[in-house]
């Protein structure tokens, strides 16, 4: 009843029908509204060129990477969780589970851990100068046994563990796998995600990440190891979100993200690793902010450009290497201190634009995050936002519902065009690494950030409650206070750990790690760094100790 009758048997729509029939047998995905109207899972017609439009699940995946998506399995809700000590975070995890959150796919539990700054950068809690940041903004983790506390009693084969951190990524995966091994879990059943933000570039400063060459090498090592031993693990996330949060426009952020993928693929090719083997485990972290329609268009453009680049530039043939998996996050930079309840609304429409774009997972920020760490109430409200969209609005019934809109299609095409322009410019400048090294990327991003701020200051850009509709209200919101004792406890626990472990065994394992790192740096035995990180973590080496070895071999930026 609903689509144009396009019956050409070889066309996209017919192909899509066959795919769905094959995959889902007799299952119907037609929904019915309260008014009694039947709603198809996808709508189609002629595209801007006047030919039959592509369907979701068809190259270049503009409309989505699956023929059927939320109609079958909703997005994964991944509230970011993490503060203080592992035991303290575990309490919050239990609360979320109770409230109906932390749902992974197909009945799994899913947790999206964020770590404090020292951990994120690969420092142990007793490193000089980091004390004030312990447990603030994330969990303090430095040894395999911390995961025993964090995931105590969990069936790891049914738990998706996502880890959000920077330079400490390789070591952190080592800690997790060592803890899983100790509990007797086979690696090939473990599913999760390592953001691996081991580059210090997109407008971020500070932190001690590896050299560009070293970063690529480590990414390749982890990807190769996991492809073989932990095949369900997602080994790299390109954070378009972070680039936006540093101030970039959507077009810039998408372009730099694709340029990053290009750079990683080039490294793999150089090392003799086939992109098809590792790319399927890469993914994106994308920001959903204020430009409601542009967010949707940029997502579609990102998927299209990703598919084209991987196929045309790197010869990928596996569909999983052409499909961009996306984890959405609402925009932190929009969260205002003034009139914080407004942020509930901002997060809601951000989440909706993500759903309408067709994303795999979602993190909805807490509304009070501009004030400090989120309260329990705020975190629950974020969960409710997702639940309301999923279960009340009917937004899950149709894939790419804005596909075919004159506006969205025009915007998608334009963003794609501009993104390819920037990629060409980056190529001309010698590639992404050269652009990072010369400071060009940082300059572009800082300029965009400054521009945005000036627009807000001048009133050219409205921020409700900040430069328009301002009220002088007294502050009355509870702000979460992290445990002031967390730092002391973390440091004491680390000291105890060092006293109790078998030092000889640990030292030997770190020496092995060092040899493996040297071999990998020289282009041999790719995958053995990760293997030795697991072994060292199992021998009770700490994150900081392993990180020191990695920095010695793979360099340190700045």
């Amino acid at each position: 009843m609903t689509t144009n009758s396009i019956e050409a048997s070889g066309g996209p729509y017919a192909k899509w029908q066959r795919t769905v029939a094959d995959r889902y047998a007799d299952r119907s995905f037609v929904a019915r509204t309260r008014s009694g109207l039947d709603v198809d899972p996808v709508y189609s017609g002629l595209d801007r060129q006047g030919v039959e439009a592509e369907m979701p699940g068809q190259y270049p995946y503009t409309r989505g990477i699956y023929p059927i998506h939320y109609q079958y399995q909703p997005w994964m809700d991944l509230q970011i969780i993490g503060f203080g000590l592992p035991s303290q975070t575990r309490e919050r995890m239990d609360l979320l589970l109770q409230e109906g959150g932390s749902k992974g796919y197909f009945g799994r539990e899913a947790y999206n851990f964020i770590f404090d700054m020292p951990t994120s950068m690969g420092y142990d809690p007793d490193f000089p100068g980091v004390r004030g940041s312990i447990g603030d903004c994330g969990i303090s983790v430095c040894k395999a046994s911390d995961y025993e506390v964090l995931l105590d009693g969990k069936d790891l084969e049914k738990t998706t563990v996502s880890m959000v951190l920077n330079a400490g990524s390789p070591g952190m995966l080592g800690l997790y796998l060592a803890a899983a091994k100790r509990r007797g879990f086979a690696f090939d059943k473990l599913g999760g995600n390592l953001t691996n933000y081991i580059w210090d570039f997109f407008g971020h400063s500070g932190g001690t990440n590896f050299s560009p060459k070293g970063s690529y090498r480590l990414i390749a090592d982890i990807a190769a190891y996991c492809a073989k031993h932990v095949p369900l693990w997602n080994t790299l996330t390109i954070s378009e979100h972070n680039i936006c949060e540093a101030g970039a426009t959507n077009v810039q952020a998408v372009a730099y993200s694709i340029a990053a993928i290009i750079a990683v693929n080039e490294e793999c090719v150089k090392l003799g690793i086939t992109p098809d083997d590792v790319v399927p485990r890469f993914g994106f972290h994308v920001r959903y902010g204020e430009n409601f329609f542009e967010e949707i268009a940029k997502t579609r453009a990102l998927r299209r450009v990703y598919a084209k680049v991987n196929r045309e530039r790197f010869g990928c043939t596996k569909s999983s290497a052409l499909q961009a998996r996306i984890h959405a996050q609402t925009a932190g930079s929009l969260l205002t201190v003034q009139q914080p309840l407004n942020n509930l609304v901002r997060n809601a429409y951000g989440a909706l634009s993500a759903v309408l774009s067709g994303v795999n997972g979602m993190t909805i920020n807490a509304y009070d995050e501009a004030l400090g760490l989120p309260t329990e109430e705020a975190v629950t409200l974020s969960l409710r936002t997702s639940q309301i969209i999923a279960e009340e609005t009917g937004a899950t019934h149709v894939s790419d519902p804005l596909g075919g809109s004159y506006y969205i299609e025009a915007l998608t095409d334009e963003i794609e065009r501009k993104v390819f322009e920037i990629i060409a410019e980056i190529d001309e400048r010698g590639g992404l690494v050269a652009c990072i090294e010369s400071g060009w990327v940082k300059q572009q991003v800082s300029a965009a950030a400054y521009n945005w701020r000036q627009e807000v200051e001048s009133g050219a850009r409205t921020m409700v409650g900040v430069n328009k509709y301002v009220t002088r209200e007294p502050e009355q919101f509870a702000v979460f206070q992290p445990d002031p004792d967390a730092a002391r406890m973390a440091i004491d626990d680390l000291a105890r750990h060092r006293r109790e472990r078998d030092d000889a065994r640990c030292t030997a394992a770190l020496a092995e790690l060092r040899s493996a790192a040297e071999r990998v740096r020289d282009g041999h035995d790719i995958g053995s760094v990760m293997a030795n990180l697991v072994a060292a973590a199992d021998a009770d080496a700490t994150l900081g100790e392993m990180q020191t070895v990695l920095h010695e071999i793979f360099g340190r930026n700045k």
Binding site: S205, S211, G430, V433, A434, S438, K558
Partner: protein
């Protein structure tokens, strides 16, 4: 207290190594105050012990990180090192963001490393108007080596040639527009060339290209070309040795005359202008405003007003001398 006397007091503390005094002295010279002008004069010509290294190169070459890494190594032979980094002032607002020393954080706590960020304040040539004076202050504070990092626009970096003994040109890997900048200005000036970020893919090719260029110019014998990476540490020792070797080669055993001491009518004119400028600009004597008013109203000729101001300056010097003598008697 006259500016001359105040400057002398400050200089005493500077010579004693008091870092707050050094900082204040640099500010005074930068701002061309009366004290600053006196200071510049008093510290003119640094002790032979104080070597100077100029570091030039286009933006993005990694000069600051390289200087930081070299400083760590050079401290062994040069126990007290000063670093001056130069960033451009905004031509529109006159302000500046001075971000080079972010890359030198390793030395923030070392009392033997003094780092100062200078803004060009409209001065062209790669350094600042005050750079000579600041180098001299550091010399007076018994620094063994002063490293000057130029602003890095490439073409106009030649002023550093006259300010520093040894010149190091830093080139990023890659053969784009930066190459033109390097060819144009920096090569004229450099004793040492280093291809930095040698851990990146294009480094060897760039080095080869530069080598060919030097050979073509017939310069290959007198210049050294090296590769270095602050990220892996490769080449840094060799670079430090090369710099040190250049310094030792330029020592003239008989030389006990301070660098840049020769006074010529040109340098005397500059010094005179500086002293008078500082006085007329900053004096609290209201007669200067009166002179300006009179000139603007057409009551006196511009030139006559000028002479009157200069006479005021001479008067103030005489008064100061008298006051100093008086205060010495009184104390």
């Amino acid at each position: 207290m006259s500016p001359e006397t105040e400057a002398a007091h400050l200089l005493q503390n500077v010579s004693g190594g008091d870092s707050l005094a050094i900082a204040r002295a640099i500010t005074a010279i930068e701002n061309a105050t009366a004290i600053g002008a006196e200071l510049s004069l008093a510290v003119r010509g640094r002790p032979a012990k104080c070597r100077t290294l100029g570091v030039t190169g286009p933006p993005g070459a990694g000069k600051s990180s390289l200087i930081s890494a070299l400083t760590a190594i050079l401290l062994e032979r040069y126990p007290r090192i000063g670093v001056l980094t130069v960033d451009p002032s905004s031509p529109v607002s006159g302000g500046a963001v001075l971000g080079d020393r972010v890359r030198m954080a390793a030395h923030s706590r070392n009392p033997d490393v003094f780092i100062r960020s200078l803004a060009t304040r409209g001065h062209l040539g790669g350094v600042t108007r005050a750079t000579r004076g600041v180098i001299d202050v550091l010399g007076a504070a018994a620094f063994d080596l002063v490293i000057v990092e130029t602003v890095g626009t490439g073409q106009s970096e030649v002023e550093v040639a006259s300010l520093t003994e040894v010149k190091l040109a830093v080139c990023p890997p890659g053969l784009g527009d930066d190459m033109q900048a390097i060819k144009a200005g920096i090569l004229e000036v450099a004793d040492l060339l280093v291809v930095n970020k040698a851990d990146l893919p294009d480094a060897d090719r760039t080095a080869g290209h530069l080598k060919a260029m030097l050979h073509y110019r017939g310069d290959a014998e007198t210049r050294s070309l090296l590769l270095a990476s602050t990220v892996t540490g490769d080449g840094l020792m060799a670079l430090a040795h090369a710099i040190d070797a250049r310094f030792r080669a330029s020592i003239n055993e008989d030389r006990d005359v301070c660098a840049n001491m020769t006074v010529t009518p040109a340098t005397l004119a500059d010094d005179a202008a500086e002293l008078v400028r500082a006085f007329v600009r900053y004096t609290r004597d209201a007669r200067v405003s009166d002179i300006c008013l009179a000139i603007n109203r057409g009551e006196i000729r511009h030139r006559d007003g000028l002479i009157a101001a200069v006479k005021m300056f001479v008067e103030s010097c005489d008064d100061a001398a008298g006051a100093d003598a008086h205060s010495r008697v009184g104390s």
